[in-house]
Structure formats: C-alpha cells, structure tokens
C-alpha cells in the first residue's frame, strides 16, 4: 500500500504514456513532465506569496492579508487577476524587443532547472549524468536576463540595479558552486539521483544525510547563504533596494511582465532550495527510519516548505546589507570557507571511519570560521560619530 501511494504519480504517468503509439511516447512523456512541473511549482508560488505575507506580518505583529476569502487565503488569486488585467506600460525610449524578451529569458530557464530535481523516488524528469552541472549552467542564464531587463528599460535606476544584481550573482556563484563540491566529492557523481541515493540509508533510526556531518553542515550553511544572495532575497536584496534604487532592474515593468519577474524570483528560490535538499538534506528520504511509510514526494515538498519558511524567517529578521559589506562577505568569508570545506571533506574521506574523524573534521572547519569571523569583526573600525553641522 505504501509503495502504491509512493509511486502513484509514476504509475499514472506510465499509464497515460501507454495510451499513445510508441513513436509518440517520448514526446508525451516529456510533455507530461513539463505540465506537472509548471502546475506544481506555479501553485507553490501562489502558496508561498500568501505564506510570506502572512508570516512577515506575524513577525512584525500584524495580521497580514486577511480580506480575500477566509483568512485571506484567496489573496494570491486576487493578486494574479490584478497583475493580468493591469496595463502593460513600456517606456518610450526602451529597447522594445529586449524589454519584452527579458522576463521570458528569466522564467523559461528556471522551469528547465526543475527537470533534474528528484522530487520523489523514481520521480526525476531528467536523470542526467551531469545533473548538478546542468542546474548551474541553466541557472547562469538568469544573469543575462537581469541585464537585459535593466539595460532595455533605459532607466538609470534599472541599469544600476542590474549592475548590482549581476555583480552580486557572479560573486556569490563562486561560493555556491564551491560549497557543492564536498558533496560531489563524497558521492563521486554529479547526478542528482545518485546523490540522493547515497543519503538514503539509516544508522539506527537516524538518517545518513550529509547535513549531519561537520563538512555537510558547514556546506549547507554556506550553500543556503549563497543561495539567498543568488535569488536576491533579503538580506541580500540590494538589487531592488527600495530606499536607494526604487525597484532595481524591474522598475520599468508593469502588469503581467512584473508578475513574471516575481514568479522567476520565487521559482529560482524554490529551485535552489530543492537543490539544497537534494545535496544536503537527503532529497526525498524520510528523516527517521520508522517514517518511511510516508510517500517520498510528501517528504520532498515538506522539506521544501520548511526551507521556504526558513527563508521567510530570515527575511523578517535580518536587515539589508550595504554593497561593500556584501562584496567583502562574499570574497573574504564565503570563498575561503568554501575552500576550507573542500579540505574538510578530504580529511573526512581519508581518515578511517570512527569517532576521531568527527572532531578532526569539525576542527578543520571550526577554527578557520572563528579566525575569519574575528577578522571580519576586527576590520570594522567603529569611531565616535562627529556631527559637522549640528552643534
């Protein structure tokens, strides 16, 4: 029974594909996967918008949206209708074609990226040998879309926002990629399916997820920080800092195109969260060995929602960084820590299994962390503020 529910979507798809002649089957299979991905993640986007607004509201001791439908749960629909029927304004001096293409170039690759995420047992639309590389390669096109949007709007704020966003994304892509390297080294494969398979076992009833090793925990934290910066979320949301450059690169977008930018941003967040789950949190595997009767896809989406909740929580807590702090953090803390983490996984790999590799590996990560943290704090020169005009 448990396996039936676990594999219900796989069997459903097999049955649907079987209805077509053999020549059509690959195409139908691909189309079904695409429809499922778009449907599921677009719905998740709607759920997340309301969760985020409600959650942020409660963090700030407000109610959040509570007018449309019971407790405001129909708010995403109202937002969607509003976005669709709004007038689409294109600036007169904008580069019309590039302005139009930018949201498309932003959203299309993000949907592509989902095809390598294992959302359940046997539920990976595209099992590539180089799955993680595919993820990052396709994800890298986002930068181009951001530039297109910022430049084509012919607005200095949008151009500044785009430049900031690209500088930030390129800077944080380095630690993002490097923090996945330990996992790839430990598994010995770039395939997302194999990475999840390597984490499915249990010790007693505790899972063998990578996040429960010293290098895995460090890698997970580094990955999540870099992912926050990659998807332009607070506290790294400088590209759209309202107080400085209004809305950043999508300032000149309105109506449905603006909604597409919003969608792209959230879909990118889900994608990196999904990859973090795949790499460090055991993908679709259950957290405790006696909970394996719950279907695998339920676990994946539960973990995804938990990650999103954590992102919302961080957004409600941490204030926005300054541009120089952002860059210093990327190059002076994230990059060295990611490199040290690669060293740590090598230590872990070549020490004999047993108690001693735990403190050794933890020490390799922890001591540089303390030193770098002190370095970052020490470089802060706090001087007494001098008022020039106010006596």
């Amino acid at each position: 029974m448990a396996t039936t529910i676990d594999q219900v979507f796989v069997n459903l798809k097999l049955w649907a594909v079987g209805l077509f002649p053999a020549a059509w089957q690959p195409l139908v299979s691909a189309l079904l996967s695409i429809i499922a991905i778009i449907g599921v993640f677009a719905t998740l986007f709607a759920i997340t918008t309301i969760l985020e607004r409600k959650g942020l509201g409660r963090i700030q001791n407000r109610y959040g949206p509570n007018r449309v439908g019971p407790c405001g749960i129909l708010q995403p629909m109202a937002d969607g209708i509003k976005a669709i029927i709004k007038e689409d304004v294109v600036p007169r001096s904008a580069d019309k074609l590039v302005h139009f293409l930018a949201p498309v170039v932003l959203v299309a690759p993000v949907f592509l990226v989902y095809s390598v995420l294992p959302v359940g047992r046997n539920m990976t639309p595209l099992d590539l040998d180089a799955g993680v590389l595919f993820f990052f390669a396709i994800g890298a096109t986002t930068e181009l879309a951001v530039f297109m949007a910022g430049w084509a709007s012919h607005n200095k704020y949008s151009l500044l926002g785009a430049m900031r966003a690209i500088a930030q994304m390129i800077s944080y892509e380095v630690p993002l990629l490097l923090s996945t390297v330990p996992v790839i080294m430990a598994v010995g494969s770039l395939s997302t399916v194999r990475i999840v398979a390597a984490q499915t076992g249990y010790v007693g009833w505790l899972p063998r997820w990578f996040v429960f090793t010293p290098w895995g925990l460090a890698g997970f934290i580094l990955f999540v920080i870099a992912a926050t910066a990659e998807s332009n979320r607070s506290p790294f949301d400088l590209p759209e800092g309202e107080s400085e450059i209004i809305a950043g690169y999508f300032i000149e977008y309105s109506g449905f195109k603006f909604a597409l930018f919003f969608l792209g941003e959230y879909l990118g967040l889900f994608a990196v969260s999904g990859l973090a789950i795949t790499l460090f949190l055991g993908g679709w595997s259950a957290p405790l060995s006696f909970l394996t009767w719950i279907p695998s896809w339920v676990w994946f989406f539960a973990k995804l929602l938990a990650m999103i909740g954590a992102f919302i929580w961080v957004r409600g807590t941490v204030p926005r960084l300054r541009m120089d702090q952002l860059m210093n953090f990327a190059w002076k803390f994230m990059l060295p820590m990611a490199l040290i983490n690669i060293l740590a996984v090598a230590v872990w790999r070549y020490l004999p299994a047993g108690f001693w590799r735990w403190p050794a590996c933890a020490g390799v990560v922890w001591l540089p962390y303390l030193a770098l943290g002190r370095g970052l704090a020490g470089s802060k020169r706090v001087t007494k503020r001098v008022y020039r005009y106010a006596a």
């Binding site: 959650g55 409660r58 963090i59 700030q60 001791n61 407000r62 109610y63 929580w313 961080v314 409600g316 807590t317 941490v318 803390f333 962390y369 303390l370 770098l372 943290g373 002190r374 970052l376 704090a377």
Partner: protein, 196 residues
C-alpha cells in the same frame, strides 16, 4: 562569534511570530472599516460651514465677506455674494464652493473668519467615482448644523458659543444704551477668552 547576533534576532522574531497568535494585545493593526480608533479632539480634514437653528439656508453664519477666499493659499474657495432684485448686497453667500481636491487642510480659513462661520470637519472617507465633479462640494453639502460641530469638537464649540453669546449680549446692551443714554454704564461683559 560571527552569526551570534543573527541567531538572537531570529529568536526574537520567532517570539513575535508565535506571540502574535497567542496574545491579541501584540497585534497593533486596527481592522479599519469595522474597528475604528476614536478621533482625536483636534483632528481636522476639510472645512465646512456652520449654521444655527434648523434651517441651513437661513441660519448660515457666513456673511460672504470673502476673507477666507482671499486668504486661502491654494485658492480652493469660491464665493458669490447674494444680491436682491435691486442689486443690493445681502449678507449671505449665493454660491459657496470648496474644491476638496485642491484644499490642503491648512485651517487658515478658520483662523481668519471673524464670524466663526467656517470650521474644520473630520470626515475623511470622501472617495467618489467622479474624478472631477465629485470633490467639488457646494453650499448645501458644506452646511452643517452647530450640533454637528459640537459633536466633532465639543470644547472648541462651547467656547465659540460662549463668545458669540457674549458678543450678542454686548451688542444688545449697547443698543439698549443707545436707546436710553441717561442710564448708567452698560453692565460690564466678561471679555471672551481668546481662541487658542
């Protein structure tokens, strides 16, 4: 240690999050259309005209002196004096319009009015479907009774009433004195306290 402050902050926001579900006092939001905060004593929004008695047209205190029209900084007041058949000016406005989309709620018209005829309203739900005509209000809509004014600003209204009554008494006494000059001085009237 790096990151300690962030963890502390996250604990604080988590406390806010769960606390807002447990105790209602934390929630600062007022659910506006159903639930309203009491208006402040000195709240003001846009001007209106005060009339005494029951008839809005007859009791209007305004004498169309046009001081407010001249003083109004954004010039949102428009007054036409009423004249009878012979062209003799009456102490009454024929037209009194205020363009609320122009008015900036400065209360200068109230300050300069020598007759306490124009006062500030607290009504703020003025939205209307007509973009141009809807916010141009005319005399019938502007005229509000003195009781209404008492409701809005009770303290101010008491003071204004006392002053007006005192002035009226003074004028009557003066008239009486003019009728009978042989009698002694008119009874001393307490000076009205100046408006704040």
């Amino acid at each position: 240690m790096l990151g300690e402050g962030i963890l502390k902050g996250m604990v604080e926001t988590a406390r806010n999050f769960f606390g807002s579900y447990r105790s209602r006092e934390r929630l600062v939001t007022v659910q506006y259309p159903e639930e309203r905060l009491p208006m402040k004593e000195n709240a003001r929004n846009f001007p209106f005209l005060v009339y005494d008695g029951v008839d809005a047209e007859k009791g209007l205190r305004c004498v169309a002196c046009k001081i407010c029209e001249k003083e109004c900084p954004p010039q949102c007041i428009y007054i036409i004096l009423e004249r009878d058949e012979k062209g003799k000016p009456q102490k009454h406005p024929k037209v009194f319009d205020i363009d609320l989309s122009v008015c900036m709620s400065c209360q200068i018209c109230v300050e300069v009015c020598p007759f306490d005829a124009i006062k500030m309203d607290t009504e703020f739900e003025l939205s209307c479907a007509d973009r141009f005509g809807g916010l141009l209000v005319h005399k019938p809509q502007l005229a509000k009774s003195n009781e209404y004014y008492h409701q809005l600003h009770p303290a101010d209204a008491e003071e204004v009433d006392a002053r007006l009554a005192a002035e009226k008494a003074k004028a009557e006494a003066k008239a009486k004195a003019a009728v009978a000059p042989s009698t002694a001085k008119p009874p001393s009237v307490p000076r009205p306290t100046p408006a704040k």
